[in-house]
């Protein structure tokens, strides 16, 4: 019945390859399973620039990417970056606005 990759498959690949401490995969396709938004927090992003982090996610989904039409990586953080924001966002959200 399903042509594209299901959300579960995307989650399973990311989980097995990147061992995330937090993972959220949102199907943004409206049901056809070809468009996803991802939030992922993993130790493997430690010391990596954002471009490299996204490449790690893309590589983990190499097989799925052949059928995914759109992948949006909303968040690719290390556990250290993620924890303070989730626990007290009001205090730690940095603002550069004057």
């Amino acid at each position: 019945k399903h042509q594209g990759h299901s959300q579960e498959q995307v989650e399973a690949s990311l989980t097995s390859k990147l061992n995330p401490v937090h993972l959220e995969v949102i199907d943004t396709s409206g049901g056809c399973g070809a468009s996803f938004a991802v939030e992922i927090v993993s130790e493997q992003f430690e010391g990596k620039r954002l471009l490299e982090r996204h490449r790690i996610v893309n590589a983990a989904l190499e097989d799925e990417m052949k059928e995914i039409h759109a992948l949006s990586i909303k968040k690719a953080q290390t556990p250290q970056q993620w924890k303070p924001i989730s626990e007290d966002s009001a205090i730690t959200t940095p603002t550069t606005d004057a």
Partner: protein, 114 residues
Amino acid sequence: FRCSASALTPQLKDTLEKLVNSKKVVLFMKGTRDFPMCGFSNTVVQILKNLNVPFEDVNILENEMLRQGLKEYSNWPTFPQLYIAGEFFGGCDITLEAFQSGELQEVVERAICS
């Protein structure tokens, strides 16, 4: 089926190298700057217009060889792909985040003023 042959021939690689260096900012996108064919491509066009950056737009929908070759050249599976000063900067999410943080403006200024 699965196609294992590389789309990136030495000639195509040479062509892409020249293309990404032909302008300080080059955007490989679906559609053109005036008629983007996809919301992600449109987002990056709007960001570049907002920064008032001169850029070259290349419609990858018109050239399948270019489209497949670029994925390998950039080591990036999707479009749009933004190049600044001959270097791959990122796709839509990275460009948006860098725009919001001010990093994109710095990188672009450095590229254009060098």
